[in-house]
């Protein structure tokens, strides 16, 4: 069952996931961001597929398919449509400059690897160390959310965060119970729709998708 090749392949995919997360962190253009997001989805789907294959858990095939459908096709398509409609292409600048962000990101990766090290020792075989990568990509996405100004890129970051989680759910733990996965997928879908509604409402109300307009509610 556990062929070294498959293991290496999953590890490769994991590394790819992390790489894409970094790439997203440094990306200024929204279009490329969405493309990267789709790519990430593809990697996720592939890794789920491989895990399903290697552990022969059938429900993981559904998961892989669902991921492909949702995260590679549907969501990027939706987002593309959205930005075309809303006519936003650039995330003008990030809040912290990109080299700094990178530095922070790298330390986050080291941190999460360290954190995951004792757990990795528990886990036998296949998924060794994947928790660390999942954690790192979750934290990187979170970092991306902190540093983005435009609502759209924040949402993409959020979705990428979910990707990281999904990776943890499927690859690191070899799949959650099906009902949970279905629920998660449904929620993500609904969330995206709501995001879409919001984008229109926000734009309608503020004439922009810059979150800087939404800093009125505060204690003073």
């Amino acid at each position: 069952m556990q062929t070294p090749f498959l293991l290496q392949f999953i590890n490769l995919l994991a590394a790819l996931l992390l790489l894409i997360a970094f790439a997203m962190l440094t990306q200024r253009r929204i279009l490329s961001l969405i493309n990267l997001f789709a790519l990430q989805g593809a990697v996720l789907s592939l890794s789920t597929f491989v895990v399903a294959f290697s552990t022969s858990q059938h429900h993981l095939y559904y998961s892989a398919g669902l991921t492909l459908l949702l995260k590679v096709l549907l969501l990027p398509w939706l987002l593309h449509r959205l930005i075309r409609k809303l006519n936003v292409r650039w995330d003008v600048e990030t809040l912290i400059n990109i080299p700094t962000t990178m530095l922070v990101g790298i330390s986050l990766v080291i941190f999460s690897f360290n954190l995951a090290a004792p757990i990795a020792q528990l886990s036998e075989g296949l998924t060794r160390g994947l928790i660390g990568i999942a954690l790192a990509s979750v934290l990187l996405s979170l970092l991306m959310m902190l540093t983005r100004r435009k609502a759209v890129s924040q949402v993409v970051a959020f979705l990428s965060l979910e990707n990281g989680l999904f990776f943890a759910a499927t690859s690191a733990t070899q799949g959650m119970p099906l009902v949970v996965e279905l629920g998660i997928a449904l929620d993500v879908l609904v969330a995206t729709f709501i995001f879409g509604i919001f984008f229109f409402q926000i734009r309608e109300t503020f004439d922009s998708l810059d979150i800087a307009h939404m800093e009125k509610l505060k204690d003073d």
């Binding site: 954190l115 934290l139 979170l142 970092l143 902190l146 979150i211 800093e215 505060k218 204690d219 003073d220």
Partner: protein, 669 residues
């Protein structure tokens, strides 16, 4: 009463229920204000009387215990009526009897809706105070305690349209609440065992506490109850809330509610805590002295009659605290008879203060109704317009000034005796402290006389300072009866000290295990230790003074002619005398203000010699407000503005919080 099957506690329970029913009836009958005035309040007074009687009955009886089916699970309401509670019930009943009777007349002018509500709150207040005295578990105690605070808050803010009154109510309830939390913590320290049942007083009595925790409990209790009693520096609410409340309510608050705090301190210190430490006594003593002098000093410079009385209450609370401190010290050092003496003095003074302060407060109510004026600088000469009120108030004034043969003197006498007999304590510091303390007490008592001369003289004597005072009317019948009862109580308590002390012995015996016993004297001579050491007989004293006076007046009348001529007062050669040339309240207080200048924050506005309409304005504020309360307020505001920085409006910042929290937790896992 002669039926054996009924216990005092049950009777008191019924009376409390009756009060609540009366209160609700008042709310229901709000369209019939006459009924409320002429039926409900007198009935309430009758209930008070019965309560006092049951309290007296409980003094001699074994402690009664009762468990109600209410409360928390595993912690139903426990009630207990022991001599200490019984004594305070007498105090409550006795004072509220007069106040309710007075109220029956006083609230006549109030609109129906307000009156109904007030009637409910008034009776809840009374019921709450009674239950505080009966409570035998922490939860019940706190519920009753806060019911008392809340109902009195609503009573204070009866005239809530006036911003100042709202402010007073706010300050009052805030300090009361902080105090209540402190009391709560005190119970938390004292709880015995585990589970909810650990909060009964009985479990607390058996709890084993280390010295550290005992002291923590005592300090928390002192702070918490002190906040209610108006002990320095938590006194700030008192001079604000008392003037704001309707006068009968002020009377209840000052006369009775403050005593529940004294009750609380006694209960915690001597009953619930198994051991005491000597320095508690020193602390209480020191705090009491400070409070007493502070209170009377500020009373001397007040211009508002109710504020003056409020500060005087602070002084008296200080005296009570001194008594408690002495009791602790003697008790710790095993001087049982002396401890009993100090405790007796404390309890006696509580009772006295309840009577005369209630009398004076309701009296100010009568004045307020007659003139619509609280500022003494606009009163004067009322003795001629309101002879009844003036006469009854004179009794109260003389009593509170500590003059023999009235009641105020007896308790001060007992307290001073306790001081005088103190030498021989094994701690030399305390030995040195005692004479200084006695001196301070004496000073406070003398200043109290000053204050009271000012109070009475400026309000009742002299010429009316305003035209409207010509139309002032005297008190009505209910008011007179109420005040009469309180004045009578002052006289009786003053003349029959031996009887009272014998009753108080039962309390000390149950609380600290010692009493004055037969040493208290025979029926007419009060001799707390023995006849050689000290004795006092107000009855003989009064008889002698009366006899001498009578003799003199007979002699004068018979041997000399009785010709009397009326004429204008002598003008000293300066014909333009008018009422404004008398001392105002501020003027009368001026020497005190000058002597104790550093303690006051004085704002003065003096007219220049060329003003055509000269106006003088002087105000003496409490420095503590500026050096303690305002800084706390500023600090809170500062911290609040720091806290508001958190909520900065930027979502990135909020996400950063989440992020940082997560990272920090992960680092520390």
């Amino acid at each position: 009463m002669d039926s054996v099957s009924v216990s005092p506690l049950e009777v008191v329970g019924w009376l409390v229920q009756l009060w609540i029913v009366l209160g609700v009836a008042g709310l229901v009958l709000q369209r019939a204000p006459r009924l409320i005035n002429n039926v409900i309040f007198p009935l309430s007074a009758l209930t008070s009387l019965l309560l006092a009687v049951s309290g007296m009955w409980a003094l001699g009886a074994d402690p009664g215990v009762m468990v109600l089916p209410l409360g928390l699970p595993d912690l139903p309401f426990h009630l207990r009526l022991d001599p200490l509670s019984g004594f305070f019930l007498i105090l409550l009943g006795g004072a509220s009897l007069g106040i309710s009777l007075f109220g029956a007349g006083y609230f006549k002018t109030m609109a129906g809706g307000t009156l109904g509500l007030l009637c409910l709150e008034y009776h809840l207040f009374l019921a709450g105070m009674t239950l505080v005295l009966l409570a035998d578990d922490a939860y019940m105690f706190m519920v009753a305690w806060e019911t008392m605070a809340l109902s009195s808050y609503f009573l204070v803010t009866t005239d809530h349209n006036i911003p100042d009154i709202r402010k007073a109510g706010f300050l009052y309830l805030l300090i009361a609440h902080v105090g209540a939390i402190s009391i709560l913590l005190c119970f938390g320290v004292m709880q015995g065992g585990n589970g909810i049942a650990a909060y009964t007083f009985d479990a607390m009595r058996h709890a084993q506490l280390t010295e550290f925790w005992s002291s923590a409990a005592f300090l928390l209790a002192l702070f918490g109850f002190g906040a209610k009693a108006g002990v320095l520096p938590m006194h700030m609410w008192l001079p604000e809330a008392h003037p704001a409340a309707p006068s009968p309510v002020s009377a209840l608050m000052s006369g009775v509610m403050l005593k529940t705090a004294i009750y609380g301190i006694l209960r915690v210190t001597f009953d619930l805590l198994g051991t005491q430490l000597w320095w508690w006594g020193v602390l209480a003593l020191g705090l009491g002295l400070l409070t007493a002098v502070f209170g009377v000093m500020f009373a001397a410079v007040q211009g508002d009659m109710k504020r003056l009385l409020a500060y005087s209450s602070i002084e008296n609370i200080g005296l009570l605290l001194v008594g408690i401190g002495l009791t602790i010290i003697f008790h710790v050092y095993g001087k049982h008879a002396l401890a009993a003496l100090a405790l007796t003095a404390t309890l006696y003074h509580s009772l006295n203060h309840a009577m005369f302060k209630s009398l004076l407060f309701v009296g100010t109510g009568a004045i307020l109704h007659a003139t619509g004026e609280r500022n003494m600088g606009r009163l004067g000469g009322l003795i001629r317009r309101m002879p009844w009120a003036a006469m009854l108030m004179l009794v109260g004034v003389l009593a509170i000034a500590g003059l023999p043969p009235l009641n105020g003197f007896v308790s001060e006498w007992l307290l001073l005796q306790a001081f005088l007999l103190s030498p021989g304590l094994p701690n030399s510091y305390i030995n040195m402290l005692v004479p200084v303390a006695a001196a301070v007490i004496a000073l406070a008592a003398a200043l109290a006389a000053y204050v009271m001369v000012k109070f009475y003289g400026v309000i009742f004597l002299g010429q009316p300072r305003e035209k409207v005072l010509e139309h002032a009317h005297d008190t009505g019948t209910w008011e007179r009866i109420g005040m009469g009862w309180l004045a009578l109580a002052c006289v009786v308590l003053g003349l029959a000290p031996v009887f009272v002390v014998h009753q108080l012995d039962l309390v000390s015996l149950s609380l600290i295990g010692s009493s004055l016993g037969n040493a208290a004297g025979n029926w007419v001579f009060l001799t707390p230790v023995d006849t050689e050491r000290a004795s006092y007989s107000p009855l003989y004293f009064l008889l002698a003074v009366l006899a001498v006076m009578l003799l003199t007046s007979i002699l004068v009348r018979h041997l000399y002619h009785g010709r009397v001529r009326r004429s204008a007062p002598w003008d000293c050669g300066y014909p333009a005398q008018n009422a404004r040339m008398q001392d105002t309240a501020e003027g009368f207080g001026q020497p005190i203000r000058r002597i104790f200048e550093p303690f006051f924050k004085i704002e003065r506005e003096v007219p220049s010699p060329f003003d055509t309409h000269p106006r003088y304005h002087g105000q003496s504020d409490d420095r503590l407000w500026y050096i303690l309360y305002l800084p706390i307020k500023y600090l809170t505001e500062k911290l609040a503005s720091l806290a508001s920085l958190l909520q900065h409006g930027r979502i990135h910042l909020y996400l950063t919080y989440t992020f940082v929290t997560l990272i920090v937790l992960l680092v520390f896992v």
